[in-house]
Symmetry: C2
Subunit: 203 residues, 2 copies
């Protein structure tokens, strides 16, 4: 008699998918482990065979999201001019936040769990961003200076704009009604102007 393990192939992956679906519907509170099991087609305590507790399951979702995002980032960047690539990244980031706000908040919230998976995925995304910044600097399309610092500036703005938009703090602005993409474009414009001044100084 053979073992009948892996009927649905990978229970762990099914659990994560099920949990992510519930997360999208109503935030972390809506991720009920009994329901996760039911959605994944397993029993109510099967999740505990794969995750120590609910928090670990949520962290697994976050890690998966980060991997998906860095994959998407790489595709977006390929065959694009640096500044154009930056704009595309900002748009993807904003779109992600709008379409999957719960995943977005979970992924960028504080992870009380010490997970190498998460740290590595985050570092990888940053590395992609830094390399584009360097390319733009080489063309004098962004000001000089530590590329990691410039990347941190752009990431902080993109993150803050999306986070405020999700909380409803951006739409409240009178007439302008700026969205995250607008603010990011503004920043790029200012930075480019500074880069021009840099070049002028050199002469």
């Amino acid at each position: 008699m053979e073992l009948r393990t892996c009927v649905t192939r990978d229970t762990r992956a099914s659990l994560i998918t099920a949990a992510a679906t519930l997360l999208d519907q109503g935030g972390p509170a809506e991720v009920k482990l009994r329901e996760v099991g039911r959605l994944a087609g397993v029993s109510h305590n099967a999740p505990y065979k794969h995750f120590a507790d609910k928090e670990e399951l949520l962290a697994a979702i976050a890690a998966g999201e980060l991997r998906t995002q860095s994959e998407l980032m790489r595709r977006l960047v390929a065959a694009r001019e640096p500044l154009d690539a930056l704009r595309a990244l900002a748009r993807a980031y904003a779109e992600w936040g709008r379409s999957k706000p719960a995943r977005f908040k979970l992924t960028f919230g504080a992870w009380n769990i010490e997970s190498n998976e998460l740290r590595e995925a985050a570092a990888e995304s940053r590395a992609v961003l830094v390399s584009i910044v360097e390319a733009a600097q080489a063309r004098a399309e962004l000001p000089k200076g530590d590329p990691e610092r410039l990347a941190a500036l752009m990431l902080a703005l993109a993150h803050g704009a999306v986070d405020q938009a999700l909380a409803g703090h951006l739409s409240a602005t009178g007439k302008g009604n700026a969205n995250p993409e607008d603010l990011f474009d503004d920043l790029l414009r200012y930075l480019r102007q500074s880069a021009v001044t840099d070049t002028a100084d050199k002469k």
Copy 2:
């Protein structure tokens, strides 16, 4: 015989204070209504005489924080040059996030509750910021353009930098180890450089 209402003066305020204390200790999950009552010196179900549910109590904390913050903002801004005032505001914002992360996240998270109190307090803070931006623009220390839009840009950066720092996403950057204050200063520098270019164009 007289009524003995208001022995501790204002139960509602005591409840909010107690809840905020618990919030600081371990986030919203640590705000247990039984414990809130105990800390405030009332019974375990007294909170329900003032708040419909836990969410409403948390919203009251957020509203109080916003009021405290706009009061602080006004004091910081008084008798300061525009750019210096902006730096002071950014520092206060970062310091607030670092010292009271749970309150910070609660205050700027999504309020599923429709609260005029919250909206008004947020609008007031923004108004203070916008007026400083306008003063700086008048001195050509910031680039021209819609002051609300510029204020939104600065607020988004400050918010994003603090939020990432709290999540531990900022310290992970190699050598630079930029903190929110550094990133804000960087932004101000770039903006000022753009303002100079603006002026040069005019000539």
